[in-house]
């Protein structure tokens, strides 16, 4: 049985003040992590619109992470609360339309938590690898002119 190494495509939205700094710290501390993820820095986890997550997961991205400041520590006071509410609802909707909600991870990483960042990313990539490719959902539908 040949080993097929499926390289998942992951996007991680990291908030500027906490989780992005945490990611930086993980890098500077030379903590080992898989490299198959792309970080997109946003000012706050509340900036991450659920539509981005929908677009990503339905267009070939296999997993999305949204990482913000810890609850109570948001640089903008309540941004992460709103993010928390929004993504809880989004996961329900994704599940309802047949997308595994485990492909979306929402968590909180502070600027000093390089290790936590490493752990989250490593575990998430492994989880998505198990889940497999999100797949091309949009097959060619038969229309009269085809």
């Amino acid at each position: 049985m040949s080993e097929h190494t499926f390289q998942p495509r992951i996007i991680a939205f990291c908030c500027n003040w906490c989780s992005y700094a945490g990611a930086d710290l993980a890098g500077v501390s030379r903590l080992q992590m898989p490299a198959d993820f792309h970080i997109i820095r946003v000012m706050c986890s509340a900036r991450v619109a659920p539509e981005w997550v929908i677009k990503a997961l339905l267009n070939g991205i296999d997993g999305v992470m949204v990482l913000g400041c810890h609850i109570g520590d948001c640089h903008y006071i309540s941004g992460n609360h709103r993010a928390a509410k929004r993504f809880v609802l989004l996961k329900e909707m994704l599940s309802f339309v047949g997308v595994n909600p485990d492909r979306l991870l929402v968590d909180w990483v502070s600027a000093s938590e390089g290790r936590k960042f490493q752990k989250l990313v490593t575990e998430f990539i492994e989880r998505v690898r198990e889940l497999g490719a999100c797949g091309q959902r949009h097959v060619e539908i038969q229309t009269p002119h085809r």
Partner: protein
């Protein structure tokens, strides 16, 4: 009270309001062509006999209160309007009030006690006695906001157990994905669902922006899925379940399933229902005083 009695009350008050210039326009229902009911905008007190009320009055008139819909044809916005609302419609009013999209002083709300709207309402053809699905599961008989209440208040004994979602919830994820992809195939992106909805009032819909092409202009499954999922998500905790989106869809897409799934989760997770109060904090965008959220 019979429907005719309610109708007479509506007409009488509309006449008073227009004649005394308390309002410049009454938004209600009238008999259209081919035996169907349609929305009407009455501007003169001599025209109020055109107003009707019966179980064919399906439209959610709150959708006309937003400027972008250009309700007032010539582009001028009158100072005050009267509007006829059913219980479901009245919750849409509260959503718009909570989101500061309309001002309470600009409205005279004629709330009607509703016994349900029949299937086939708003279209020509055989009128049925059977109530619409949304009415069969509706708990509300009395509008939640009004200046005039028309009809005797009654209680409802129905309970919404979201049984319509059960079939989909029991499917495997792959089956659910296949189900929804099949639905989008019929969609023609006419946007009637969005246009009829009082909650969709963005002056340019993000799914139609052609400057950024966030979603392309093609009518492909990718674009349709983005539109329907995005719209349902934007209505989370704001949709009041009038079901007009599903009624107007020419391809009979089961749009209510998406909106109701989110409404069910909002109720279960946050104990929140859209439109119960005009001061209710919008769920997904605001953090209410002392609000907790699930871990």
């Amino acid at each position: 009270m019979t429907e005719f009695a309610l109708q007479d009350q509506i007409r009488a008050r509309a006449k008073e309001l227009l004649a005394s210039e308390q309002v410049q326009c009454v938004i209600g229902y009238e008999h259209g062509s081919r035996g169907q009911i349609r929305p009407v905008f009455i501007h003169q007190s001599t025209d109020t006999d055109r107003l009707v009320w019966d179980q064919g009055c399906t439209h959610n008139l709150v959708t006309y209160l937003r400027d972008k819909k250009g309700a007032f044809g010539s582009g001028e916005h009158p100072q005050r309007v009267a509007i006829i609302v059913k219980p479901c419609d009245s919750r849409a009013l509260n959503v718009l009030l909570a989101e500061k999209q309309i001002e309470r002083e600009h409205l005279y709300v004629i709330g009607v006690v509703c016994a349900g709207i029949v299937e086939g309402a708003g279209y020509a053809g055989q009128s049925s006695d059977k109530l619409q699905a949304r009415c069969l599961r509706c708990n509300d008989r009395v509008p939640v906001i009004y200046d005039l209440l028309v009809g005797e208040p009654t209680q409802a004994e129905t309970e919404d157990d979201y049984i319509d979602l059960a079939e989909l919830e029991a499917m495997s994820p792959a089956e659910r994905a296949a189900f929804w992809l099949k639905q989008y195939e019929r969609c023609i992106l006419c946007y009637a669902c969005r246009q009829v909805c009082p909650g969709c009032y963005c002056s340019i819909c993000m799914f139609e922006r052609d400057d950024s092409l966030w979603v392309g202009i093609a009518a492909g499954t990718k674009e349709k899925e983005a539109f329907h999922l995005g719209r349902a998500y934007h209505l989370a905790a704001r949709c009041i379940g009038c079901n007009e989106c599903e009624r107007v869809c020419p391809m009979e897409l089961p749009l209510s399933l998406l909106n109701r799934k989110l409404a069910k989760e909002v109720q279960a997770l946050f104990h929140y229902r859209a439109g119960d109060e005009p001061s209710q904090s919008p769920l997904a965008t605001m953090l209410a005083e002392g609000e907790e959220f699930p871990a």
